[in-house]
Each structure stands twice: as C-alpha cells, then as structure tokens.
Symmetry: D2
Subunit: 393 residues, 4 copies
C-alpha cells in the first residue's frame, strides 16, 4: 500500500437500507481495509423513505449522513456513485436519474421489474458511458471465490465443451403457508417471485460460468400458496402475522429447461419451497473434459472433475477455495480460513472501484442485466403460453 | 426357517445372460440364502442366441442347463417363470409368449420399446392374471433399502404434501466421442437412449416414492455425438473401436420438466454425458413437512429433513439405511455394513416369489411399466413437437 | 473361462455358522460365479456345537452336510480347507489341529486371544507350509476395493513418505447400558472387547496400507458400563434382556497413540460407544506428497489428495472405486454400481484359492496375525502399566 | 438501537498488526455495525516494533494512530483496553503491564509460552479484577456459531454423558520441507509449535464444548523436518527461501490421548503436516444420548446425532448454523447465508464489550488460559518422560 493520500475519493450514496443495504455497507467499509484500492470510498449518505429510519440506518450502518429524498441526493456534488438497494420497482427510475446526473451506479439485481425498464436503463447507461460514467448490476455471487474460480477454469478450457448445466436456487422461507406477506410476494413491487429474486442469480451464474448465453426456454411457474396473512409491517423478509389475509401475486417457484447458444442443455429451478434448503445455490456444469459443481451452502468449496486423468484416480475434487492463488483470496486469510456471504459484496466494490479508476466498464454491466431480464421474461411467457420462447440475441 | 422340504419349487428360465443376466443370476442364487422364501427357486435354464455362449453362461452363472431357443423353453413343464433380460426390442414377444404359455414373467425395464408393445404386454398380463399367472417389471431400484425407506416415509406423511421432485440419472460412459457404438445406441434394438435406459428409472422412482403420477411434460432430447466408431463386437456396453463409423440413432441425454397429478413440479434429467458422474441416480423430494434426498452413488444413505423440528436443531439427516428396522435389511448384516448394487435384485426376487406364493400381483406390474412407457413417449413427442404433452391417465 | 471341468476341487469345512459364517458362505458361493478361479470350491460341511442348529445352518447357508464334531471333520478326506469362524478362544486349537491334519486354514481375526496362542499357530503354520499347506488370517477389510486401491497408491509412492496415520473403528451397538451381555463381552471367549474385535482391524489396515509396522504404543482401555443384563441366549450379537445382570469383562473402548517403524505418528481409537457411528472404519494417511482417506460407511469411495498439483486446483478427490481398473472391480458391475460388505469376503476367497492353486503363501498369513496380536497385547499392557510398550520386531 | 450517543467510549490499543491484528481490526470495526453494543469501541492506536510499519498498519487497518512503544501506550488516558496480538513470548510482559496500568486486556492464545508466565498473568488478572479491570484470552473459535451451538446442546443434555472426544487440528503449511523458517518455528518466540499454536485451540474447544477438564495425558511430539531454509524476512507465516538453513526448534506435530475428569476418553492431534488439510479443526463428541461433530473447513455446519430417535430415521443431521435462533446469527444475514473466519473475532469483541459494560468477567478468562497452558505443558512433559502426566486441578 503506497501513498494512500494520493488516492482520489469516491463518495457513495446508498438508496435503501434493508438487508441489501447492510451487506453493501459492510462492503464499502471493508474493501479499503483488505484491498489496495485506487480510490478511497467514502460512505457519504444513505437514503430511505422515512427520515427517522434513514437517520438510524446511517448511525447503525456507518454512513456520514442520511436523507429521505433520493432526488436531492443526486444533485449533490459530494456524491460520485449511487448504490441502488431498493426493491425492483424503483430501480429504473433511480438508476436512470443517477446516470443522467453523472453519477456512477451500482444497481441491485434483478436490474428491473420489466424488460422495458431494463432497456431504458441500458440506454441510459450507454449514454452515460460516453461521458465516463459507469453502471454495474449486482450479480454478486459471481464474486464468491469458488464461482470466480469456476469461471476461470472454464475459460482455461479445463472442462472442455459444455454439454450440461444444472442450476438450482433452493430456499424454504415461505414453505410454511402461514409465513406472512411481504413486499417480495407483491408483484407490483417485486416484479416476480422466486423467478426474479433468486432465479435471476442462477441464470446469471450459469451464463457467466459457461461464458455462454441461454437461447431458448420452456418453463413453468407455480404459486403453491395463494393467500397469506398480512404482516403487521410490510417491508423486509419477515413480520408478524395478522388474521387478515392477502393474495400472493408472484410465483413461489419456477422451473425451466433451456438450450444454450453453444448447444448445451440446461435445467433450472428456483424455489422458496424446497424444505430444508436455506440458500442452496447449486450450479453443476458438465463438459467434454471435466465437470464443475458448486453449492453456496458450502460456499468456500468448488468441486472439479478432470476427465483427462486416469480413471483409477479420477474423482471429484473438493477444492477448498481459500488459497492465495484463488480469486480475491490473497487479500484475506491463510488457507483454510473461509469467507462468508458478505465478502462477495466487498469483492464487488473492489472490482467496481478498480473499473471506475481505470476508466473501463465494470462487469456485469446493465446490458448483461437486461439479457437476464429477457430470460426471466421468456420463462414467464413460456409458462403462460406453454410454448418454448426464444431469447432475443 | 422351517421345513424347507415342504416348499414348492419355482423353476426359472432366464432369457439373456449379459450384464442383467449376471445380476439376476446372483439374485436367484442369493435370495433363498438370506430370506425365508415360501418357494424354492431353481435356476433351471439360461437362454441365448448362441448355443455355445449360452452353455458357457450356464456354467459361469450357475444355471442347470442352457438353450439357444427361448420358444422351446417356454414349452417345458419344468419351467415356472421366465426372467427376461434381453434388449428391449424382444421384451414384448418373449413376455407375451411366456404369459400365454402360463409362465410367470419378470421382465427387465423399460417394459418395451414402444407404447404399443407395452399395451400388448399389459393385455397379456391381464389375461394371464385371470389364471393366476404373474407379471412384474424390473424397476429394481425401488428395492434399494434407502429408496424403500423413502417410499415408506412419504406414505407415513413424514414430508407432508409434495411440492417439488428433482430427479437425475447421470452417467458419463459415452461422454468420450470415441466410445464405440453398441446396441444401446441403436434405436432398433434399444428403443431410445438415455431416456429409456436410465430416464425410465427416475420416472419410476419419482412416481413410486411420491405415490403420484406425472401428468404432463415438456422435454428436450439431444444427441451430442452423432457418429461413433463401430465396435468390433456389437453386444454389451463396451468393445474395441474400429476405423469405421456408424450413426448414433438414440438420444445421449434427455431433460424435461413435469407436472404431477397432485400438483408437484418436477425436473428430470437423464444423461450419459455428465462427466464424472458414474451412476448418480438422484431423487430429491420437497414436501410441506420435510424433504428426502437419495443418491445411488452413496446408496446406503437416505437424507431426511424434518421441518417439524425446531429450527435450532433441524438439518438434513444422513440416515445410514442399514438398521434391522429398515426395509430388507434384517436379512443381511449388522448396522453399518452396507449393501451393494445387486442386493436390490435379490430383494426383487424375494418380493416376486412372495407374491407368486401368496397368489397376489407383484409390484410393479406391467401396467406400471406401461405408464412409464407413456411418460417416455410423451417426453419424446414433446421434444419433437416443442409442446407440452399430457400423459393419458 | 475355459474348461471348468479341468479345475481341481477344493472342499471346504466351515467351523461356526453365526454372523461370520453367513458372510463366508456367501463368499464361497459367489467367488466362482464372478471370478475365474483355478479351483472349484465345494461347500462340503459346516460344523457347530449343536447338531440340530448345524444341520439347519447347512440347509440355510447352502452347505452339503453338517457336523457337531469339528475334530472328526478334520479326519475327512473330502475336506481340503478349514474355515474357522468361531469365537477367538477356539481359534488356536482348531487351526493348529487342522494344519496338523494337512488342511489349509482360513482363520477369522483376531488370530487368537493371546500372543502365546498366536505363536503356536504361527509355528504350526510354518510346519504346515513346509508341506504345501496354507494358512491365512481373515483381515477381510484389506480386500474392500477402496482399501486395496489405497495400498496400491502408497506402493506407487503417490503420497510420499508417511507422516501421520489416524485410524478409528467406531460403533455404538452397546452404547445403551441396557444392551445385554453376549460372548463378545466375555473375556474368556472373546479375549478382549473393542480392542481385539475391531481395533485389530484398524491396526491391520494401518499397517497394510502404509506397508509399515507399529513399533511402540501408549494406550488406554475403558469399560464404561461394567454390568449388563444377561441375555436369554448367550451367543451372537444380541439377545433378550433379563432382570439378572453379569459383569462386562472386556473393554468397551480403546485409544492409543503409536510410533511406526518408519517414523510416522499414529492415533488409534476403537469403540463400541461412538453414538451414531455404526461401522465407521476410518483410516487417513498423510504423506509428504499426498493423503488418503477412507471411511467404511461410504465404502466404495477413496479420497486422495495429490500435493504435487497446483494449489489452485488441488483438493481431496472422491474416487468412486467402481472402475474396471480398480482392484477386484472388473469382475462385478459397470462403473458407479457399488459393492457391499460381503464382497470383501468373496475377494478373500479368490485370493486364497489363487494362492493355494499357485502354491504360494496367501497374505495375510498367520505371522501377520501374530504381529497384530502383539500390538493388541502391547496396547493392553500399556493401559495397565501406564507406560509405552515396544512391539517386538 | 437506542441513543447511541449515550454509550460510553471504549478506546482500544492493539499491540501487533500481522495476521491476528488484521482479524482483530475487522472485528473492532464490524462489531458495532451489526450488534447493539453497550459501549462504542474506538480504534485508537496500533503498536508495532517498527514505527513506519506501524503507521502503515494504522492507515491500512483503520486505526486513528500508531506507536512503536507499547509501554508509552499503556500510560495514555485515552486507552481503555489493550488487545495483545503479538507472538507468545511477549504476552506476559505486555498483558501484566497493561492490567497493572488499569487497562482491560484481550490477549491472543496461547496465553503465554510457559506455565510460569501464565500464572503471573492470572495473578495480575485477579488483582486487576478487584478493581473492575477485565482480562480475556482469545480462544476465538468458541464463538463460531456452530461451536457455540455445540456447547449449548451439551449444556441442554442433548448428548447425555460424554464418553469420547476426538479432536484434531490439521494443517499442512509446512509439509513441504522447503517451506522457510518463521517465528512460529522458533521456540524462543513461539514457545512451541503445532502444540501451542493450534493444539491449544482444540484443547480449549474440547473442554469448552464438554464443560469438562482434561485430567491426564500421554503424548508424543515430533519434528519431522529439523532444518529449514532461512526466510529473507523472519516475520509472518511465509517468506522467500534462502540457501542458508536454520534449525526448527519446535514440534511439527503433537498427538496425545487424554482422560477427562468426568471419565471421557480423548484423542487429540495437532499437526502442520496433514497434507491437504488446510485448517481442519475437527471436534467430535460422543455421549450416551447423542453425538456432535464439527469441522472448521465447513464452519457453518454442526452435525448432531440424536440417539433418542427411532433407529429408522436416526442419522447425523447437518445443521446449517445460520438460523436466527443460533448463537450470534440474528445479527447477520438470513438463513443459509454463511459466515466466515473473522466473524468469530467480531463475536469475541461483542462478548468482551458486553462483559466490560456489565462489570462481569468475560470468558474465557486468564485462568482458563492457564489451565490450557498446563495441559500443553503436560503433553510436552509426557512426550519427554514417556509417561502419563496429571494436570493440576
């Protein structure tokens, strides 16, 4: 680390301060402590709809100030980057405005609630890029070291030509029919249910790891529990159940099969009803020369099968992705000392800050977010029409 | 064990003596040594197309005699049961003839190569049943103790209402494009590829464990490698590659999504291209009260999640299915001493002999085999038509 | 397989017909069906103390005849080999007499209940060997394919110089203080408890896999439950509890640390009180170039870590030991179709018959059994004297 | 969170800024962001022997100031707590001086390099406690949620009477004989090798989880590689190898068996030569009513076997210790989102600050550190004398 004082500041405004806001805050705080960043992130201001709660969040999460008016924040000169951690229905409006105000944007996934919104965001990002303003979408799991290693190994050709992708995102937090309604079960705010919330992640991971694109899909959505108790309070993942009930307007689960552009077959499943599975993001890729398997419930591990080895000693290797040569790991602890969920957010900040300082576009950009949105839309349409849907290139 | 001499004999003729023949032979030999059977199986005669090889098989596999003419065997009075271990294109002809000759039939899966053949077989089985002649199809994996325990737990309501089934049968024995052609890659003889050979098993397992039926499917078949070296010899799983090549006329892999009659969503995948997976028959079922997971590569284990437990100590249990109270296990070894692949064939013999002696229909009967055939056909049609297909009730 | 009629017969008498007798019977029956043996084993006669029970065992286990007088059996010309499956207190007397009668001997482990007995047996085996009579001790787990592969890999130098051995044999069948007494808890008959019964196995496995010898030990034995209900019947692993109680005169558990001749450190633990562990035979060996790990509760798997690989992709490989190139496996099923507990007994028969036909000494011979006995004795003495004990070379 | 401004400040001086210093810094920084602390920790000053490097560490790790003179720091009024992260040879001097200066102390483990030093520290801590000054030793792994849950379940009686403890701390970072010397391989600075560095952790964990004490031990230490290349730089875990070599003066590995006061048997192993094991802290406890198993390489999991369940469905449960009801977890993320290595340091800060604010002694105090030191000394003496050693009560 050399001459920290020489580094320019990067002042951040974060919009939203719930679950995602806490993760992002820890990332902004931790990144410069473990990585040699080219800019100094400053946790300037946090925004929320309620002024008192925003102030409390600023204190708790460690932001210098707070605001209940995100529009005014965009006008501030002491804000360089806007970090959008709100529900999906507000992404487009905030992100487009921020980009137009010349602020870099980090936007949580899914990029938007509709393809149309996502297209507007991409257009805004393209206009902004012409002025050196950057936009990134938060497919954070790409930056789990085991996932980044998987991508690296595919790029190196270690598993050959990809033939199968099986990806699952399994949760169970509403398997109980008495789990209350929340904004995540409300189509107006969340856009979709399991499909957009967690299905988006495995679509992105499958495409990212393979370096390929889903070309067509046939899917089925399902809402197993169609009415739920109203929560006393409607924000967040949980709440206190009441006697009154309201409709669930999003999917509980989505399954689909897919064809990738390169010819691989895919099976996908996103559900909040996989009893006993808490956050099981599983991706297995089978190629002509080997296979890779990942499960977020054992997040510091990547399994690799190398088919070029003699059958006598070939087997899936449990790679503990905690070596200094593994992506992102050298900054942290010695081998065998695992990382946790929020570390991927720190890595996201690192890569974003590096890109901004280097004057390059961070990945995944909004165009990648739009493409995922198109896959989501195709799955939903396919479920409605009972027909295969092609994703526009 | 009481008065063995009082037990009637059950003389068996086995048609076919390759991989399946060896497994069935060991089952007929072992069953009476570990289980108290109501009848004494007699390994009377083994049939093959080539007289010399059949004689050699009789000697090696322990059958009293051999024949190269299965039709003449059906006329023998000293044959009570015909065990059909041939490729699928001959199942219908042999099984129907055997039933008409008044012989009980155990027929390997898939029941036939076409729905039409399977329907003829069911009709023959129904006619035969009127005369006390029994027919069973060899969905042997039902009788792996861990699978039988899974079925028992679902029946007991331990996992509640079933919402998700994810089933995979993953192999990799032809992932190498230079693996030679065999009868299993020839549509004329095998009927289909991964779909019928191994997909049939997971369809049966998924329906058996849940006690439910697949109602509609949307699927995709794929032949990744369309030409292969001709084997020096065309029978069996392997052979020596030659310079000449021939077409692969069956699918290498099949994926499909499904809706069960009871509302559950299913994802299915059968492939011979899952590099590193050797015989990974995986079935996971998520219900409202719990979940079950099985993987044949760890065949003595069933995983159970019980959602009625406090979250503090809930977790997937690794049940080692080797306790005396587990299905079939009391006949074998003390706890912790696992069984192997062929034990399920022994259990199949036990259940079949018990049913014959009791004068009841063994399960799965030919009607269940036909229903699986209909699912297979629907997947194939769906892949051709790119549309969902409903399976006739 | 050629000219089976040309093969000489090998007539077997089995002494004892409980748990071990059943496993040995299945091995004698199965070996010639899967392996091309140079001799034809004949299951001639089974002996037991009670004539009626021996006759029943002959019928059930598939032996031609039965006897309640093992001495008379040794005089029969139609007996070539004596298979000793009795409790340890009778091994020496039967085995020595059999060898002196010119019969080959397969003797269950531990070789004897005392070092003195084992020395007599070795002397008898040496005298017999001079006349071409062979003796083998039944450390059967060596012939689990995963264990045999472990030995092969160490021999090939794949893990380099051995530094650590950690071996555990964990069971829990008497963890319940109300589990009744059986002959296995009676010092007179069993010699010792967990130490001799299951500790003997991990001592043998550790030495066999490493190709090294334990040189000195410091250990501790323990009897957690000192009195138990008398079983209605005293033979076998279980029985019906009665109100009366008797003393447990053997150890429930034994732990010891060890130094190998080659310098490696060992930790060993044998217990019947590891609640939840049913037959967990675990051996891990760490060498300068790699490591191996085995657990019998997942018996078709060997784990291998290869330290010569780049750290980026190094990891313990889960080798599914079901490939045709793996020890013993080609005789059985295709890849991925696992074997069970009793298959190792079949392999033992194969290796023994091969040695007899070849006129060579089978391994492990009685001398190896004696050496294990000396380690067992040293552990016991060490526990009594509270001092390290050296094992005579 | 209420009235943060009402909270008193707790100003911290950290001595040492290598690996442990980084972990502690992140803990001091993160604790108040996720937990509602009764005091506000202030990262006041970091000390190191070299002024420039200490200043760089302050900048990088986020401390307000730096110093190269820990004694002067103890005199500062704006320091309330001294966090000792130096090698073991300086623990006693710094900690005693800090306590005498009226500063609370958090001291890394092992408490000291000798029992005599540890006794002085306990005496100092007792004197300080009389004035409300607190001392804690950093057995951080106690605060991994899965470990804390294990302790809770033992306290609740879930596994009954403890009979077996098997504990291993397996690393491999110096398995390569060319790995260079570091202060950790120098007896003068580190006190001992694997035994004190990592063996101390499993001793503490075994005693903490069981709530019992090790009473006597028989052990063996070993230095497999007796000379190593000198590192270009001698501090830290790694360095560049040079041609010159120096002696390794500590143990590479230590094994011992133990008797607990409550009668349980223990087997322990600490090694830096377990090739392929990176930070495998494994503790398994078998009790009369159940068992627990933990492995830090899968740190968010605790395995539980409940022997009170019917055998049919009993099995080791893989509890994902990420539920809000699990220790420390509610402060972090939703279920299934695992924590990493450094989180346990954050929990340590939380518990320490809570104790200081409450005016109670934090656990583990120095007396517990001394007791572990006595076990370490007994193991070492036992290895020298080749005799069992009793640990003073």
């Amino acid at each position: 680390m050399t001459h920290p004082t020489a580094r320019p500041r990067l002042s951040v405004a974060m919009i939203g301060h719930a679950f995602m806001g806490a993760a992002h805050s820890q990332a902004w705080r931790s990144a410069p402590r473990f990585f040699d960043l080219p800019m100094d992130p400053v946790m300037q201001v946090v925004c929320g709809r309620d002024a008192a709660r925003a102030a409390e969040a600023a204190e708790r999460l460690g932001w210098a100030g707070s605001s209940d008016d995100w529009r005014s924040v965009l006008e501030r000169d002491d804000v360089d980057l806007v970090d959008v951690c709100t529900p999906g229905d507000t992404h487009a409006e905030i992100a487009v405005a921020a980009l137009e105000a010349g602020k870099h944007v980090l936007c949580e996934k899914p990029l938007a609630n509709t393809v149309a919104e996502a297209e507007q965001m991409v257009a805004a990002a393209e206009r902004a890029a012409a002025h050196g303003v950057r936009a990134m979408v938060g497919f954070t799991y790409r930056r789990v070291p085991a996932v980044a290693l998987a991508r690296r190994l595919v790029e190196q050709g270690r598993i050959g030509e990809v033939r199968h992708v099986r990806a699952q995102y399994l949760q169970d937090w509403i398997a109980d029919p008495e789990a209350p309604l929340s904004w995540r079960l409300d189509r107006e705010r969340a856009g979709s249910g399991a499909l957009g919330d967690i299905g988006a992640h495995i679509i992105d991971l499958a495409q990212h790891i393979t370096g390929d694109r889903i070309q067509e899909v046939s899917g089925q959505l399902e809402t197993f529990v169609k009415e739920r108790p109203l929560a006393a309070e409607h924000s967040g993942l949980s709440g206190t159940a009441s006697a009154e009930r309201g409709p669930v307007t999003v999917d509980d689960a989505a399954v689909f099969i897919a064809r990738f552009a390169g010819g691989a077959l895919g099976t996908f499943e996103a559900t909040r009803f996989a009893t006993g599975r808490k956050n099981a993001i599983r991706v297995e890729v089978n190629g002509s020369a080997g296979s890779l398997a990942f499960d977020f419930e054992d997040m510091n591990v990547l399994e690799l099968f190398d088919a070029t080895e003699p059958a006598e000693t070939a087997g899936f290797r449990r790679i503990l992705v905690t070596e200094a040569t593994h992506p992102y790991v050298a900054a942290w602890w010695p081998a065998g000392h695992g990382l946790g969920y929020e570390h991927a957010f720190t890595h996201q900040v690192v890569d974003l800050v590096d890109a901004i300082a280097a004057g390059t576009d961070p990945a995944p950009g909004f165009a990648e977010g739009l493409q995922v949105q198109r896959v989501l839309a195709a799955v939903e349409t396919s479920s409605d029409t009972r027909a295969w849907q092609t994703i526009p290139a």
